[in-house]
C-alpha cells in the first residue's frame, strides 16, 4: 500500500518502471530490491557494477572561511588538514563520546560538502545550526540527488562519460561533468568495492541514472543488497552498529580520529575518548562468524564460554559473497580477542560462532 506521507527521491518513477519492490526507509519510499533480487544484485555489484539511489541521504554545504575549524568543534576528524579535493569519514560525537551520526566530508575548495544519514539529517542540521551559528554557513542541498555506482567496473563505465574519473584516488572528490550533466563526483562508497558517489541536480537525476543503467555492466541495486554489501565490508550502519550509546572507541572507529585531534581534543566527548584510548573501553565491536547456515539477526544475545551474556548482535544476516551467515556486534572487552568461541541464542537454541577479523570480504578500493 502506498503511503502518501513518505517522501520520494527524484528517481521514484524510474524505480517503479524497473519493477522495484518499494519499502519505507527513513521517511522515504525506497527500493529494497528490483526484479533480480537481493542475492543477484549483491553478487553483480561485486562482479561488475551496481547503481544505487541514495538520494534520501542528507547533502549539505558548509561554507565560510572558518568552516573547517568550526566543524572540528563537532567531529573528531582532522578537517582543517583535509587537502582540497580530499574526503574523510568522520562522526558527530556527544559529550560521552557516543556517536550522533557518521558522515563523509569533502574539501570542495571554497566550502565543505557533507553527506549524512537520511534518518539523522534533520537532527544533524539542528545540531550544526545550534553550534556553528556565526562560524560557518550550513546550506542543506534539498534539490540534489545522490547516486552511487559501485563495483570493479564502475570506473570504466563512468570514464566513458567523464574520462577524468580514471585518475581519481579513493576518498577524493571533484566537480565534473558526466556527459553534459554537471555533477560533484567522489570516488567513495559503502560497499567495500571501488566506486563513485555522484551528486547531481534533482532535475538531471533520471537522465543520469538511465544513462548509466544503459551500460551493459550496470544493474540497479536496492537497499537490501546495500545492507548486505556494507555488512560484508564490516562497515557500520548508524542506528544499528553505532549510536549515541556506543563510543567511538567501543565501535572500533578510533582510526577516524587523526593524530592532531587525539592530541588536541576539542570535540564533544574528547575526554572520555582519550581515557578509553589509554585504558581501553568496556566493550568492543567485533566481526562474528556463525558456524553452520543459520543467520543470527540484530538483537541476538551473545554468550561466552562460561554461559553468561557478554553482548549482542547489532547487524546480522546472510552474506551472498561469503555464502554464509555474517554478523557484527558488541562483546565485553575481556571476550573480544580474535578466535574467541561464542554461542548465539537463535530462537531459543544456542548456536556456535567465533570472533573473526573484519571485513568479511576484502576491501577493493582504488588507492590511486
Amino acid at each position: 500500500m502506498a503511503d502518501s506521507a513518505l517522501r520520494r527521491t527524484p528517481l521514484h518513477d524510474l524505480h517503479k518502471s524497473l519493477g522495484a519492490k518499494m519499502v519505507p526507509f527513513a521517511g522515504y519510499d525506497m527500493p529494497v530490491q528490483y526484479a533480480a533480487g537481493i542475492m543477484a544484485e549483491h553478487l553483480h555489484t561485486r562482479a561488475k557494477a551496481g547503481l544505487f539511489d541514495v538520494s534520501h541521504m542528507g547533502q549539505a554545504r558548509l561554507g565560510g572561511a572558518g568552516a573547517a575549524p568550526a566543524l572540528e568543534m563537532l567531529v573528531p576528524g582532522d578537517i582543517v588538514g583535509l587537502a582540497p579535493g580530499r574526503m574523510r569519514y568522520t562522526l558527530f560525537t556527544n559529550d560521552s563520546g557516543g556517536i550522533l551520526d557518521d558522515l563523509m566530508v569533502t574539501n570542495a575548495g571554497d566550502h565543505l560538502m557533507l553527506i549524512v544519514n537520511a534518518s539523522r539529517k534533520h537532527d544533524d542540521t539542528v545540531h550544526m545550526r545550534r553550534h556553528l551559528a556565526g562560524r560557518a554557513t550550513l546550506t542543506p542541498l534539498e534539490d540534489r540527488a545522490l547516486l552511487a555506482l559501485q563495483g570493479p567496473a564502475a570506473a570504466a563505465v563512468l570514464a566513458r562519460f567523464a574520462p577524468g574519473v580514471h585518475g581519481m584516488a579513493f576518498m577524493s572528490g571533484a566537480a565534473t561533468a558526466i556527459g553534459e550533466l554537471p555533477c560533484f563526483v567522489t570516488r567513495s562508497g559503502y560497499t567495500g568495492e571501488d566506486g563513485f558517489e555522484i551528486s547531481v541536480p534533482a532535475i538531471s537525476a533520471d537522465r543520469l541514472a538511465r544513462r548509466l543503467l544503459a551500460e551493459p555492466e550496470v544493474m540497479p541495486v536496492g537497499l537490501g543488497a546495500r545492507d548486505s554489501l556494507r555488512l560484508e565490508a564490516g562497515l557500520c550502519l548508524h542506528g544499528h552498529d553505532i549510536d549515541e550509546t556506543t563510543s567511538v572507541v567501543e565501535a572500533d572507529l578510533a582510526w577516524a580520529i587523526q593524530k592532531r585531534r587525539r592530541a588536541e581534543g576539542g570535540f564533544p566527548g574528547a575526554a572520555v575518548i582519550a581515557r578509553q584510548l589509554k585504558d581501553g573501553a568496556p566493550r568492543k565491536r567485533v566481526g562474528i562468524k556463525p558456524e553452520g547456515r543459520a543467520p543470527a539477526r540484530e538483537g541476538t544475545e551473545i554468550f561466552g564460554a562460561a554461559g553468561a551474556v557478554i553482548g549482542r548482535i547489532t547487524s546480522g544476516g546472510f552474506g551472498p559473497s561469503t555464502d554464509g551467515p555474517v554478523a557484527m556486534g558488541y562483546v565485553a572487552a575481556a571476550h573480544s580477542a580474535l578466535g574467541t568461541p561464542l554461542q548465539l541464542m537463535v530462537r531459543g537454541t544456542p548456536r556456535p560462532a567465533r570472533i573473526v577479523p573484519l571485513p568479511f570480504v576484502p576491501h577493493r578500493y582504488h588507492r590511486g
Binding site: M39, G224, R293, P320
Partner: protein, 125 residues
Amino acid sequence: MSTVKYTKDHEWVRVEGDTVVVGITDYAQTQLGDVVYVELPEIGRRVQKGKEAAVVESVKAASEVFAPISGEVIAVNAELSGEPGRINSDPMGQGWFMKLRIANPREMDDLMDEAAYNGFVEGLH
C-alpha cells in the same frame, strides 16, 4: 486429482490420503526473496494449526511458517538445508517443507481453494 488448499498466511497443503504435504506459495516466495536458510520441525513433533511450524530466512529477514492444519510431522524436506533456493525456484514442488498426518480432517474446511486464494492475493495489491 490431488486437492491443494491455501491459507491466508500463504501456505499450501496438498492432500495425500490421511496426510498432507505443506509448503509456501509462489506469492510468499516472491515476497520473501532469495531464501538462504530454512529451519524445519523434528519428525514426530505435533504442530498446531496457525502456530509456528518452520522458519524461513531470506537475505533480509526471518519469517515464520505456520501450520495450515494440526498434525504430526511424519517427514521433512531434508534437501532444503543444502538447497534452500528450491523454495524460490519450485515452491509448489521441490520446495515443499513437511508432511503432516492430519489430526482433524475438519480443519481442511477452513482452507481456501485455488480460486479463493488467487482472489485473496489479488485483493492484497
